[in-house]
Structure formats: C-alpha cells, structure tokens
Symmetry: C2
Subunit: 409 residues, 2 copies
C-alpha cells in the first residue's frame, strides 16, 4: 500500500463527463489498496472567465480581492469531484486551501507556501477516505485567501506530497510524459521513462512545457518522486522525474532535444573592450524588465569588442529602444538586431562526463549546412542559436545524432 | 452617522453593470457619513448553474459537498463588489462567511446561525472601510462550509445587523417595498411606509413574497429595524418593518390584502364525530410531508362529521392517495377534492381591537356574490377560501372596502 498524491489539471476536469473519468481513475488506485490524496485545478476556462469578470469591474484589480474571486474555480472542482467519487461508492471529502490549512505568505496572486497542516488529511486517510484538495490556493496568517499563481496546482500537489511524505506525486496532464523532443517535429520522439529534476528544469524552461517549473524545483528540493502522466491514456506509465541516483547506470548521455522559437539577437558593435562594458549594456536592459538569455562578448583587434545577446522576440523593439538611448554613453558604433533566430539545446546529466557531446552536436549541424550563430553551455546542456528556418531540421538531425529514437536500455 | 447593513439580492448583482450600480449606491451612503456593511447574494442564475453541475455528478448530492460548490457564488460576488467599490475610490474589504466568522450548526443546506464574531468587521469599519460579506453562508464548529438555504442572504443581513447593533438593515430587491396588495391586480395599491413584523409574516406567507420569512422572524426577535427597498429606484424610502410600538397611533386597522392561488380543498365526509379524528386524518398527511393550511370540522346531526382542510394544489393528488389508503380505518364515507380554490386574507395588527373587521369583509364579498367556502382567523388576519375565478374581484373589493387606496395619515 502506497500513499499517492494525484494532481488533475483543468483539461482533465473540463466537464462533468471528464470529472467522472477522474473519479473512476482515483477509484482504481483505491481498489489497488493505495491511499489517495487528489489535488484539482479549476475546470478549464473557469479561471479565465473569473479574471475577465474581475477586469470588467476594475482595470487593475486589487490582488487580495482577485484571489477571493479566482479561488472559487478550484473550490467548485473539489466539491464536484467528491460528488463524483461518492456517486461510485468511494468515500471522499473536500478541502479548500484554507481548510487544510495550506499556510502561505500574503503575496496575493503569487503566494509562496510556508507550511501545510496535514493532520486533518491524515485523519481522513486513516478513515479510508479519498481526500480532495483545491490546488492553486492557500490562506495567509490573517485568514485571507491567497493564490499561488498560474499553474500553482502543480506546486500544491508537490507540497502536499512533501508534507505527507507520499510515495509518489502524480501530475496528470494532456500529454503522457516528457518526450525526447516534440513529436510534432520528430515522429520518432520517445517518451522518457525517467528524467532528472535538473534535466526537467532545462527541458521545461527551453520550451517543453509540461510542468510548472516551480513545482519541479520544489520536488527536487524535498526529494518528492514526481511522475507526469496522461489523464486520457490509462496504460502509459508516464515519465518519472527523480534525483540522479535513482537512474539507470546505463542512462544515455543525452535525454532530449529542447528548443525555443521566437528568439531575437541583438549585437552592440564596436564597444570599448574594457571591464564593466557588459554591465553598462545589460544594466538598462534589466531595468526595463527584459529577460536576457544567451550572452557572447567577442574582442576585436582594434581595442573594441562586439557584444551580443538574445531576448524573446516580443522584447526586441523594446530592447533596441533602450540601447539606442544609452548608445552614446557606452560608446557603441551601432546596434544590430536579428529577429529570425531560434534556440536548440541538447540536454542530459550524462554529458558532463562525456566530453564529445559538443563536438558531435556541432558536426551534425554542420553536415546539414546549418550555421551556428551563438553557443552557450551549462553542466547539463548545450544550446545553439540558429536561423529559425532550420529549427525543425536541426531538431531532427540532433535527435538522430544522439540515437534518441532508439529505446533506452 | 448611522451604521447601516445593506443586502443586495441576485438580481441587483446580476451583471458587472449592475454591480457597478450597487457600488455607486453604497458610495452615496458612505458620502453621507454612514458606516456601511454590505451583504450580497450570488449573481442571478449562478446558484442554479452550480446546483445543476452538482446534479450532473450525483443525483442526490452530499449536502456538505453541495455547500462547498454552491457557496462559491456569493464568494465571487463579494470580490467583484469590492473591486467595483475600490474602482470608484471607496476603501472596501470582502469576507466569506467563514472569514467573518458566521458560526452555524452543521445542517448543510439549511444551517442555522449560532453566532457572529463581529470583531474584524468593527476593525475595518473603524478604518473607514466598507465591509462586504457573503450572504447565505457560514462555517460550522469544525470549519466546514455551510449554507443557510435559499434566500438565506436576507437572514445573513439581519443577523449581521443584530450582531453589530446596526441602526437599520436595508434589503434591496426588485420591488420598492411592501404594498397593500399586488399592484398587478389593484392598480391603486399603495406602498406601505411601515408594517409590523407580525403583519409582514402574514403578508409573506400569504403570497406577497418580498422577504424570506426566516429573516423577518429573526429581525422581530432581535428588534432589528428592517427596510425593504428597490435597488433600481433611488428615490423611494421603501417599507420599514418594525415593532408595533414604533407605528403611528392612527395606523389604519388593515394594512393589506394578501392572497394565494393554487389552493385545493379536501373534505373527508361522514367520519365519526369523536375525539382524535382530526389526528387520525392529519397524521398520515403530515407523515407524507404535506403542509396543511386551513382546517374546518363540522359536526353533522347523525353522529358523523365532515372534516375539511386545504393544501397546496400541487399536493392534492398525493393527499387524496394518502387518505384513500386510510379511509377504511377512519371510517369515512367519502373523500371529496376541490382543486379550484384560492385564499384571500385581510391583514392588520389593528384588527384585534376592531371587532367589525370580519363583518365588513364578509359583507363586501357577499355584495359581489362571492361565496365563502372556508374561513380561518388569527389575531391579525382573517382568511377566506373562495372559488379561484373570483380572486381578482375579491382582492379589488376588499382593497376598496378597507380604504387601502387612500394615503395613510
């Protein structure tokens, strides 16, 4: 018998019929003798509907009151799922975040969990009940309702699993796990049975959006075994996200190919090649709330340097405006912008003990005539910026070059 | 400066535009220097939508979980109204029933208020905030969410006014007060400036459905000054519901003409004229959960009696079935049913010191050839059952006979 925390997202809870499906799945785990705590999101579309209502009454809604309104979406879901469970003979009880209670700070709309009182849940589990908890919400020390921000239900699930020392936290979504890359680009892409937290963070932030990053960090910190599963496919075991020591020794070097469209590159030409120049360029950019990703500085022969970095394409115009204003101060000759880039990355914890990964990656791209515009590396990933038109080709080539289409051992 | 509790129903809160209207009205009272606590219902249609969702998942929804789902309607309303108030510069804060807290028993779906902790509300009022409280809901001693039953928001308003010792509890509806009778039948019907709690109870239970009966009882018990007003007409002072001593000495004898369609009369013929027969007949009817209204027993000359009573027309068939089963046991000769009746009542606390009221009523009806089928009386009302086809005529005749179309002194 295991204690399992299951989280179902808005799509899984999208209609009475789907809620009944969730109830049946929960019942199956109960029938196998497991204790189950379920965390649910609002029915799909509901949060958007509530936010839109609030915005009709206030252009800049007070965050405390917005949380009062928005948190009702999950409250409806918990009641409905318990009714569906009871209807098929499964004893169950619902809890709002405040009823649990899930104590948070008072940063309305993006609250952080400070602690969870799991006593009441344990009592219900001991009475053989399924416990259904509202995701995304908590309560501050003064009893105000708070929400954790979009996708916060994943975090609720992981935090509950940590507090209850659950054997596993299962996140049900509309995909059945984490893939070696996007199957829409590479039909041979395989579902990974296991991935480490660190790899998952790289895959998520690079565009494979399956889980809220915060919940993965949280799971890593508290060593919660996290599994991503499809709520629509019964058979798949999904992908287990775990710490490295749980992995197979024969794990392949690379776990997957991540990518991100909509990159733009900015080059500040002919700046004085002297200490502090990076700070002079990126300081104003950061002050304008623009996220910078890859950064390169090339020293030239004439005592000047070219300084390049990438931003999201949406931020390109804003970034150019900021730099045009400081161009004279930093002594730059010109600002160049290139908006048709993308980023492709190979990710794998195995690579730090396999020095040949970068070489293999660059050779594969060069054989297809794909020019690398920028390179950046970390312990577990190598990213290149390339022309966007080569994105699909590069992903396919790299997927093959690292044998990702072959089943793992 | 007065402390006013205002309650706005679902129609008043029916759309963002209407919520803005409510906010403007509240702001007007604030601008006059009053402290305002607002109680709101769910947006019209919302409670029905939520109940329908719950019924899709369970034919007999668990009352605890149904309350979790249904109580979200008022929670959305409080947040939206506070946003609307803040948007026009009025400091405001929302409270769910649990946050107040409004302590109830655990009779989910029809909970009774046991106590109200008004400390937090007083603190906010002292800080010049408008306090917006969710109607219809509370929390039991174990922290479970409860609801007070349909129309319970009126009760929340009155209970808060009692707890806060408010100067007045204003109930905003889609009518601008209590009328001498239904203006759709008698165009000359006048709005009453004042009515006593007792009269209001008779008027409400007899069909002039303006306020939830329970909230009127509550207001009478705790001597809360209750005022019914229209949320759409700014000018009207509505009707004040108060204890008798607050009334004008020259108050007319009769306050209004109430009526109820859809009455049905059942006569049990030829039962033995002996003690206990009423109980033998009405016991099985009560067990079948059928409400009985007027009751008459006529002794005949042959040692038998005819026993008549009225029920709601919807319950007629059910009642006849019940009596057919026990007919032999009680020794009745026959069961007769008459489904085309209505009830018309004159109501007024003044009548107990004016013995001529009944005579004036019966004369007025007889002059129009309206046959009285049953009569029942109380301290402050006289009701007659008549053929339904005479309902409008009887109401008009009585309204005129008691000079209700003339302005009060």
């Amino acid at each position: 018998m295991a204690l399992i925390v299951q989280k179902y997202g808005g799509t899984s809870m999208g209609s009475p019929e789907r809620i009944k499906n969730v109830a049946r799945r929960v019942a199956k785990f109960r029938a196998q003798g497991h204790q189950v705590v379920v965390v649910v999101s609002a029915m799909s579309g509901e949060t958007n509907r509530l936010v839109a209502l609030a915005r009709e009454l206030s252009k800049a809604p007070d965050p405390r009151e917005l949380d009062v309104v928005v948190s009702t979406g999950e409250q409806v879901s918990i009641g409905l799922l318990v009714l569906a469970l009871q209807d098929i003979g499964v004893a169950a009880k619902s809890y709002t975040g405040g009823q649990v209670k899930i104590l948070t700070d008072n940063a309305f709309g993006k609250a952080r969990i400070l602690g969870i009182d799991e006593a009441a849940i344990r009592r219900d589990l001991a009475e053989d009940k399924v416990v259904v908890v509202a995701g995304f919400q908590g309560v501050d020390a003064d009893g105000n309702i708070t929400t954790l921000g979009r996708g916060g239900s994943d975090t609720t699930g992981v935090a509950l699993a940590a507090a209850l020392k659950a054997d596993e936290c299962q996140i049900y979504t509309d995909v059945d796990g984490v893939y070696t890359t996007d199957p829409r680009i590479v039909p041979e892409a395989r579902r990974l049975d296991v991935i480490t937290f660190e790899e998952m963070l790289e895959m998520a932030s690079l565009g494979s959006k399956v889980l809220q990053i915060r919940s993965v960090e949280f799971a890593g910190k508290y060593k919660v075994k996290l599994r991503v599963l499809s709520s629509f496919e019964e058979e798949s075991q999904g992908t287990l996200i775990t710490v490295e020591e749980n992995r197979n020794m024969e794990q392949p070097v690379i776990s997957g190919i991540a990518f991100n469209r909509d990159e733009a590159k900015i080059t500040v030409l002919g700046v004085p090649d002297q200490p502090g120049i990076a700070c002079q360029i990126l300081g104003p950019v950061a002050e304008a709330n623009i996220d910078v990703d890859m950064i390169i500085q090339n020293a030239g022969r004439d005592g000047t340097a070219d300084f390049s970095f990438t931003v999201s394409r949406n931020d390109l115009d804003k970034t150019v405006n900021v730099l045009d204003r400081v161009k004279a101060v930093i002594g730059a000759k010109a600002i160049e912008a290139d908006k048709n880039l993308c980023k492709v990355s190979v990710v794998g914890v195995g690579m730090h003990s396999h020095p040949g990964v970068a070489a293999r990656m660059f050779r594969a791209l060069s054989e297809e005539g794909i020019n690398i515009r920028m390179i950046s590396t970390s312990e577990i990933k190598i990213s290149v910026a390339i022309d966007e038109k080569y994105l699909e080709l590069a992903v396919r080539v790299l997927h093959k070059a690292f044998d990702l289409d072959r089943p793992a051992l």
